[in-house]
């Protein structure tokens, strides 16, 4: 039994069958990559895990519990965090505040009325957030307005926010897209380190094969809404169909 069990999921958009009959099992404490051509349905599939979309058919079980029909915040509180393909951050707040919100969400749950405490007095939250920012190498930017950062930085911030929640399952939709090579490598290291330290399961979508092959323990290849193959990285690399449909010369 995987921590995430996806059975026969299908999703239609008007005339387009974006997903059909997707079966997937993500094992606890592994990094599972989902790759595939553009428009294959990878992001759509992720959307079904976090409550952004409800699939037409099939089931999605997290930790033995169905997530279908739950609100995004409920799913998150069950332990699933997500990094988006285009960074979603709190643009008007500072970097530090962005991360602190995640820490509050972890500590206090979906809603807690605490109108009179002072943010600055929440020592543990402040420390956690600072630690997280140090981990992702952004501590010197903690007072920056999040919206005025470059895109690579925004993506790193979003990742920091998700990691600060210490989720059981972390969903990453192209986490290193647009990142400089050096930062990509740092990110790979960071993810590896975190996984070791915190027993995190990760599902990662990525077009950068360097990232995929450095991290993934299993890979599912999605094409036209259905899994083409699922296998170890070594086998995928050599798989002729995958080469043709997706990897091209990169392999």
């Amino acid at each position: 039994m995987g921590i995430l069990e996806v059975k026969n999921v299908g999703k239609r958009f008007g005339g387009l069958q974006a997903l059909s009959d997707v079966n997937l099992s993500v094992q606890e404490n592994t990094v599972h990559a989902i790759i595939g051509p553009n428009g294959a349905g990878k992001s759509t599939l992720l959307n079904c895990f976090v409550g952004k979309l409800i699939p037409d058919t099939g089931s999605v079980m997290f930790n033995g519990q169905s997530v279908l029909g739950l609100k995004p915040h409920q799913i998150n509180q069950m332990g699933i965090s997500r990094v988006f393909q285009t960074p979603e951050i709190f643009g008007d707040l500072t970097v530090m505040e962005n991360v602190m919100i995640s820490c509050f969400a972890k500590r206090d749950g979906a809603f807690r009325m605490h109108p009179f405490e002072t943010v600055a007095h929440e020592r543990d939250i402040v420390e956690q957030a600072e630690q997280m920012l140090t981990d992702v190498n952004m501590i010197d930017k903690r007072h920056m307005h999040a919206a005025s950062m470059s895109r690579g930085d925004k993506r790193r911030l979003e990742m920091a926010m998700c990691l600060a929640q210490e989720p059981r399952l972390l969903l990453l939709d192209e986490p290193t897209a647009g990142m400089a090579r050096a930062d990509t490598n740092n990110t790979i290291d960071l993810l590896k380190e975190i996984k070791e330290k915190r027993d995190i399961t990760m599902a990662i979508i990525e077009h950068d094969m360097h990232v995929v092959f450095s991290l993934a323990e299993r890979i599912t290849v999605l094409a036209q809404g259905t899994p083409l193959v699922e296998d170890t990285p070594e086998n995928i690399k050599g798989h002729p169909k995958v080469k043709e449909a997706y990897l091209g010369e990169a392999a």
Binding site: K71, L93, A110, P115
Partner: protein, 398 residues
């Protein structure tokens, strides 16, 4: 110095606000009685009470709009509900304001809970129009079929044959706080100046300081942080495991309670509740106050409220006699011309001045009056740091 769980800066800020509020009756009375400029004095009870009351209204509105970005166009409904509650308490129990104020806050909270619960299902303009629709419905009903509750367009008043069961033999016959009668004042004459220290004003002012302190705490709290997060990116908030609905609803109810409290104080100062205070123009006014002063800032809404109320009460009162008095020293032709010109801007045309000022402020001070203040402060600071040497040189010459 830190106090009451506030940071050093906030404590200073709060103390300044407290000080200013307490000396308002003196500050607003800068011109001697009988002088030509006495019209511009604003230190009389009714207006000072309004500053405090509308300040409270705007502070509350800002908790919703300034922090979450949800623009309610129906907050006047809560104001009205607050007023009606208080007058009903006068009618049933007696003129002590306390039961009425408590009831007003409770009733407006319930009312806000209801309207907020429904309206917050939508966001942006759709939310604004929902709140507007609710408030307009309340207003229209208060004006017509709810007349038995509201006394229609005349406004709800106390009649001599009302029960007033708690009225003792020698209880005051106008609103009071355990015997402190609201419309009583102490007057102080110093030279040509006359200062009025009115019980009602100080009552409102103390309440205003209390709720300002509360809003300061809310702004600095995790709750306030969540509200600001809602304004920037609700999607992210939801995917961070936070449920935005209870947060917005709480903000809505809190700001509804502030509005109810403001309405209650209005009826505490003048025991009549008219339906017009629920009309959309009243809701629009608090929106304007907040934006004009600077939405999302602590001090802005209060400044905005003061600004608008000052114009409404002072500029509208300037009439031809006064203009003649002011311009009398000029040659006749010019005097007539100036008086003619002034007709556009004062007296019954005071709205024109207000409209122009709205435009000027928003064009030149995008952050509202608060931003204007900050710019001045900055300019002064710059001048001081740059100009120190220069001043030292020029000073001996003087």
């Amino acid at each position: 110095m830190k106090m009451l769980g506030l940071s050093q800066r906030d404590t200073t800020f709060l103390l300044i606000v407290v000080f200013l509020t307490l000396v308002t009756p003196i500050l607003l009375q800068p011109f001697p009685e009988g002088s030509g400029m006495a019209t511009f004095n604003a230190g009389y009870p009714d207006l000072m009470q309004r500053f405090a009351i509308f300040g409270i209204f705007a502070i509350g509105f800002n908790i919703l709009f300034g922090l979450t970005g949800y623009l309610s166009f129906g907050h006047a409904a809560f104001l009205g509900v607050g007023s009606y509650s208080v007058v009903w308490m006068y009618k049933l129990l007696g003129y002590n304001v306390v039961p009425g104020i408590l009831l007003a806050v409770i009733v407006s909270a319930l009312f806000a809970l209801l309207i907020g619960y429904v309206s917050l299902r939508r966001s942006g303009i759709y939310f604004s129009i929902l709140t507007l629709a609710f408030a307009q419905m309340s207003y229209n009903l208060a004006y017509s079929v709810l007349t038995p509750l509201t006394n229609g367009e005349t406004g709800l008043q106390v009649y001599t044959n009302d029960p007033q069961v708690l009225m003792g033999e020698n209880s005051p016959t106008s609103p009071h706080f355990f015997g402190i009668v609201m419309n009583e004042s102490a007057k102080l004459n110093v030279g040509g100046w006359e200062f009025t220290f009115n019980n009602g004003y100080y009552f409102c002012a103390i309440v205003a300081i209390l709720v300002f302190y509360l809003s300061l705490r809310i702004f600095r709290s995790p709750f306030g942080l969540m509200l600001r997060a809602i304004k920037t990116n609700q999607t992210r908030l939801n995917y961070t495991g936070l449920n935005s609905r209870p947060y917005t609803l709480a903000a809505f109810v809190i700001s509804g309670m502030y509005a109810g409290l403001a309405g209650a104080l209005m009826a505490s100062m003048d025991p009549l509740a008219g339906a017009e205070r629920m009309q959309w123009t009243a809701s629009g006014e608090v929106v304007l106050m907040t934006i004009l002063g600077g939405a999302g800032t602590l001090m802005g809404p209060i400044l905005g409220a003061g600004f608008i109320k000052y114009f409404e009460n002072i500029f509208s009162k300037i009439n031809d006699n006064m203009l003649h008095q002011w311009f009398a020293w000029m040659p006749d032709g010019i005097e007539d011309f100036l008086i003619g010109l002034s007709h556009f801007f004062v007296g019954k045309s005071w709205h024109l001045t207000l409209g122009l000022l709205f435009m000027l402020v928003v064009i030149f001070l995008p952050g509202g009056l608060v931003e204007g203040g900050q710019r001045i402060a900055k300019a002064v600071r710059n001048r001081r740091s740059k100009g120190d040497g220069a001043e030292a040189q020029t000073q001996p010459a003087e």
